[in-house]
C-alpha cells in the first residue's frame, strides 16, 4: 500500500492511499463537521457539511467521499465554507421542529453539536413547523419524523450492518420522510429485529428508546464500528 502526501490547512500530512480527506483530517486532529457520515457504513455525501476547497478545482467537494491524492492542497475552514456550513445548519433547523428544550436528545445531539461547532445561534430562514407525525407503534422504540434530518444513517445501518433493510426514504424533495417496511407502522414491520442499531445511529432525537429521558439518553456509536470490525477484520474485543 502506498502513501500519499498532501496538505490540509497548510499542514503536511501523509496517509495511506485510498483514504478519504475526512479520514486524513480526523487522523490529524483537523475538525470537519459532518452529519451523514457514520463510521462503519457507506458514505453518501448528502449533508454537505464536510465540503472542502481543493486547489485546482472550483467545485467544493465532500471530504467524506473524496479520496486523497498526491500533492492535494485542501482548505477545510475558509470564510466561504464557514458561511455555507452555517447556512446549511440554519436550513436544517428551519426545516424540522428542532426544539431542544423538549427533545430527548438535548445535550446528546449531533445537530446541536454541529450548530455550536459552526457558530449558528439563530436561523435567518422561515421556520416551516411541519406536521410530520410520530410513530410509537414499536414496542421498544419510537420515531419522531419532525426531528429527522434525513441523514439516512438509520437506513444504511439497518441495511448494511443489521441486514434487515427496515428503513428507506419515501417521496421526494421537501416531502421526503423515512419510511419503515412498506410504509407500515414500525411496529408492524416483520423485518425489524428490534436490534436498536438505528437508535444508536440517529444523530438527533428522532429515533429513541421508549421511556428514555434526556438524562438517561446516551448513544453507543462505537458499538456500530465494533460490529463492522468484528465482521470484516475479526476483531472480537472492544
Amino acid at each position: 500500500m502506498s502513501v500519499k502526501t498532501l496538505k490540509i490547512d497548510n499542514k503536511d500530512i501523509a496517509i495511506e492511499e485510498g483514504a478519504t480527506i475526512l479520514q486524513a483530517a480526523q487522523e490529524n486532529g483537523i475538525p470537519i463537521p459532518t452529519l451523514c457520515h457514520l463510521e462503519g457504513v457507506t458514505d453518501v455525501g448528502a449533508c454537505r457539511l464536510c465540503l472542502v476547497e481543493i486547489k485546482g478545482t472550483n467545485r467544493l467537494l465532500p471530504a467524506c467521499v473524496t479520496e486523497v491524492a498526491e500533492g492535494m492542497e485542501i482548505q477545510t475552514n475558509t470564510e466561504k465554507l464557514q458561511e455555507y456550513r452555517k447556512m446549511t445548519v440554519e436550513l436544517l433547523f428551519s426545516e424540522g421542529n428542532h426544539i431542544c428544550a423538549v427533545c430527548v436528545a438535548n445535550g446528546n445531539c449531533e445537530l446541536q453539536d454541529v450548530a455550536i461547532q459552526v457558530g449558528m445561534d439563530h436561523t435567518r430562514f422561515t421556520y416551516r413547523f411541519p406536521d410530520r407525525g410520530v410513530d410509537m407503534s414499536h414496542e421498544l422504540f419510537g420515531i419522531d419524523h419532525n426531528r429527522c434530518i434525513l441523514c439516512t444513517r438509520c437506513v444504511r445501518v439497518c441495511d448494511e450492518i443489521e441486514g434487515a433493510h427496515v428503513w428507506d426514504v419515501a417521496m421526494r424533495g421537501a416531502a421526503c420522510y423515512i419510511v419503515s417496511g412498506l410504509n407500515q407502522p414500525w411496529g408492524e414491520v416483520d423485518a425489524c429485529t428490534s436490534c436498536g442499531k438505528c437508535v444508536d445511529a440517529c444523530p438527533t432525537g428522532s429515533i429513541f428508546r421508549k421511556g428514555e429521558t434526556t438524562a438517561e439518553k446516551e448513544r453507543d456509536r462505537a458499538k456500530l464500528e465494533f460490529l463492522v470490525n468484528a465482521r470484516e477484520k475479526h476483531q472480537w474485543t472492544r
Binding site: 454537505r48 473524496t66 435567518r124
Partner: protein, 546 residues
C-alpha cells in the same frame, strides 16, 4: 444480413414507393389536434378519388412546425398545409387533380424552414417512423455497417472526437472524450445508456426525435457500443412519452428481426442488444448517476461524482451515457466524416442544435440550426417575433438555464457564449417572453419546479429551494425588504455551490439571471424596512406560503 441484403431492402422499398407521397404528421403534438383523423380521411379520399396507384398517404414523424399542426405535406410538390382539419382532407387530395384546398397553405420558403440545417431531423416528417424499410431506403444502418467493417473501434472514437460533437443534454462535455474514456476502461462488461428522460418545461426535442426517427437513435447507440466495447444498451424514456416508447419498441423488434440489433450484427462478431427502461417521471432522473440508479431498480437519487459513470456506472461497470440528440448525430458523422461535421457551427461548438421554440412567439415548433446563429435570428427571423409587442427576454436551458434580455439577442448560440451571459444551452428549450412577462414570476415558476423535483437527498437543494421559493413568493406579495433580497442572493449562491448534483447546482440560475438583468423588477417590489413603516417583517409571514 449483409450489405447486399441491406441494399436490396433499400432498393425494393424505393421501387415500391409511389410517385406522390402525402405526409401527415402523427407525432404527439399533431395527434392532440386530431391528425389521426386527418390521416384516416386522407387515405379514404385517395381511394375515393381512385388515386391509390400513384399516391401514397403516409403517417410520418414531426416536421417541426408544431404550433400550426396538424401538418400535411405533399412530396415532391413541396406544398405544405397547416392547421389541417379532418374535413380539409378531401380537398387536399383534390389538389392533385387540379382542385383547390380549403386548408391554409404554408410558406416553405419562410425563414422558419429556410434557415434550418437539418442533420438529426433530416428525415423527420418524411419517413414513416414505424417502418424500418423506409429508414433503410434513405441510407439507414449503412453507417453501422461502415463502422463494423471499415473502421476499428478506436477509429470510430477518433472520428467522433475529431467531429467536435459535444453533449446535447446541455452540459456540452466533449462526446469523443467520453467515448474514449469508456473505451479505454478495462473490463469485459460495459454498457451504453441513452438518456431520454427529457423533463425541462417547454422542451420536446428528444421526444420528437424518438417519435420521428427511432432507428436513427438505435443505430447511433449500436455504433457507440462497437466503439467503446459494450454489448448491451439501455434507453431510458420517461413514461409521459408513450408514443415514443411504443415506436422504440417496434423499432427494436424490427431491427432484431433483420439482424441489425442483437447477436452477430451484420454477421460480424459484434453483439448489441437494446432494452427500454421506462422512467416514472422525475426530473432528477435525467441526471446521469440518478438515471443509473433508477435503471438498477433503486431510488433515483444522484450520487457524488467522481467516480464518473465512464469509470463506474451501471452495476459498477464502465458506462457510456449520452443524450438522445447526441446519439442521433452519430450516423451522420460516420457517414459524412468528421471534417464535414466540424465545418458546421463555431470553433468550439460544432454541428447543429435542435431547439423547442415556444412562448410568446408567432412560429412555435422545433428548429434545427447550426451553432453560432444568433438568438435574434432565431427569435425574430425564424420565430417571426412576438405577436404583439416586443421581445423582453428569452429563457434557454430550462430550469438549469437563465433568462437572456432582449439587449443580448445578438449573442451567438453556442455552449460558451450562453454560459458567459449566465444561461446555458441546456437540452434546448427556448421560451420567448414579451413585455407583459413579470420576470420575478418567471423565477418563481422555475423555482417551484425545482422545489417539486428535488430528490431530497442533499440539504441545500431539498430545503434551500423551498426557502428560495418562499422568498420569491414574499417578494411578489410585496412583503420583502432590501435585506430579504440580499438573503435571497446569498442563498442562491449557497445552493449553487454546495448542492450534490446538477439539479441543485443549477436551480438558482433562473433567479440569478433575472436578478442580473432585471434587478429593477425585483427592487420595484421591495418594501421599506419594518422599522420605517411599522409593519411586521417577512419572517413572521404564515408558514403556509412556503
Amino acid at each position: 444480413m449483409d450489405l447486399a441484403d441491406l441494399l436490396e431492402i433499400a432498393e425494393t422499398q424505393r421501387t415500391k414507393q409511389k410517385p406522390t407521397r402525402v405526409h401527415c404528421c402523427t407525432s404527439t403534438g399533431c395527434r392532440a389536434a386530431r391528425s389521426l383523423e386527418v390521416l384516416h380521411n386522407l387515405k379514404s379520399a385517395t381511394e375515393a378519388a381512385g388515386l391509390q396507384d400513384q399516391v401514397e398517404v403516409v403517417g410520418v414523424g414531426c416536421s417541426g412546425f408544431c404550433g400550426r399542426g396538424p401538418l400535411v405535406e405533399i412530396d415532391p410538390k413541396n406544398v405544405l398545409y397547416e392547421e389541417v382539419k379532418p374535413e380539409d382532407a378531401a380537398s387536399i387530395i383534390d389538389t392533385l387533380k387540379g382542385g383547390t384546398a380549403t386548408a391554409t397553405q404554408g410558406d416553405l420558403n419562410h425563414p422558419f424552414f429556410s434557415r434550418q440545417l437539418k442533420i438529426v431531423r433530416q428525415h423527420s416528417g418524411k419517413l414513416d417512423p414505424e417502418s424500418i424499410e423506409e429508414y433503410i431506403a434513405v441510407g439507414g444502418y449503412r453507417s453501422l455497417y461502415k463502422a463494423l467493417y471499415e473502421m476499428s473501434p478506436a477509429e470510430v472514437v477518433e472520428e467522433i472526437t475529431k467531429s467536435g460533437l459535444r453533449g446535447r443534454g446541455g452540459g456540452g462535455y466533449p462526446t469523443g472524450l467520453k467515448w474514449a474514456t469508456v473505451a479505454k476502461m478495462p473490463g469485459d462488461q460495459k454498457y451504453v445508456i441513452c438518456n431520454g428522460d427529457e423533463g425541462d418545461p417547454g422542451a420536446f426535442m428528444d421526444r420528437s426525435v424518438l417519435e420521428s426517427d427511432p432507428h436513427l437513435v438505435l443505430e447511433g447507440m449500436a455504433i457507440a457500443g462497437y466503439a467503446v466495447g459494450a454489448n448491451h444498451g439501455f434507453i431510458y424514456v420517461r413514461a409521459e412519452y408513450p408514443l415514443a416508447i411504443q415506436r422504440l419498441q417496434k423499432a427494436i423488434q424490427q431491427a432484431k428481426k433483420y439482424g441489425l440489433l442483437g447477436s452477430q450484427i451484420f454477421d460480424s462478431h459484434f453483439d448489441f442488444k437494446v432494452d427500454i427502461r421506462i422512467g416514472a417521471g422525475a426530473f432528477v432522473c435525467g441526471e446521469e448517476t440518478a438515471l443509473i440508479q433508477s435503471i438498477e431498480g433503486g431510488r433515483g437519487n444522484p450520487r457524488t461524482r467522481p467516480p464518473y459513470p465512464a469509470q463506474s456506472g451501471l452495476w459498477e461497470c464502465p458506462t457510456l451515457i449520452n443524450n438522445v440528440e447526441s446519439f442521433a448525430n452519430i450516423t451522420a458523422i460516420i457517414r459524412e466524416g468528421s471534417e464535414w461535421y466540424a465545418s458546421i457551427g463555431t470553433e468550439k461548438s460544432k454541428g447543429t442544435k435542435i431547439f423547442a421554440l415556444t412562448g410568446k412567439i408567432r412560429n412555435n415548433g422545433l428548429i434545427e440550426v447550426p451553432m453560432g446563429i444568433t438568438l435574434r435570428e432565431i427569435v425574430e427571423e425564424m420565430g417571426g417575433g412576438v405577436p404583439d409587442g416586443e421581445v423582453k427576454a428569452v429563457q434557454t436551458g430550462g430550469p438549469s438555464g437563465g433568462c437572456i434580455p432582449a439587449s443580448l439577442l445578438d449573442t451567438p448560440v453556442d455552449y460558451d457564449s450562453l454560459m458567459a451571459i449566465g444561461s446555458m444551452m441546456g437540452s434546448g428549450g427556448m421560451v420567448v417572453m414579451d413585455q407583459t412577462t413579470n420576470m420575478v414570476e418567471v423565477a418563481q415558476f422555475y423555482m417551484e419546479f425545482c422545489r417539486g423535483e428535488s430528490c431530497g437527498k442533499c440539504i441545500p437543494c431539498r430545503a434551500g429551494t423551498v426557502q428560495l421559493y418562499g422568498m420569491l413568493t414574499r417578494l411578489l406579495k410585496k412583503q420583502a425588504t432590501q435585506a430579504d433580497l440580499e438573503k435571497l442572493k446569498d442563498l442562491c449562491y449557497m445552493v449553487k455551490e454546495t448542492s450534490l448534483c446538477g439539479l441543485g447546482m443549477s436551480a438558482p440560475n433562473p433567479v440569478l439571471s433575472t436578478l442580473r438583468y432585471f434587478t429593477e423588477e425585483y427592487e420595484a417590489l421591495l418594501q421599506p424596512p419594518a422599522y420605517l413603516n411599522g409593519k411586521v417583517t417577512a419572517g413572521s409571514v404564515e408558514n403556509s406560503e412556503l
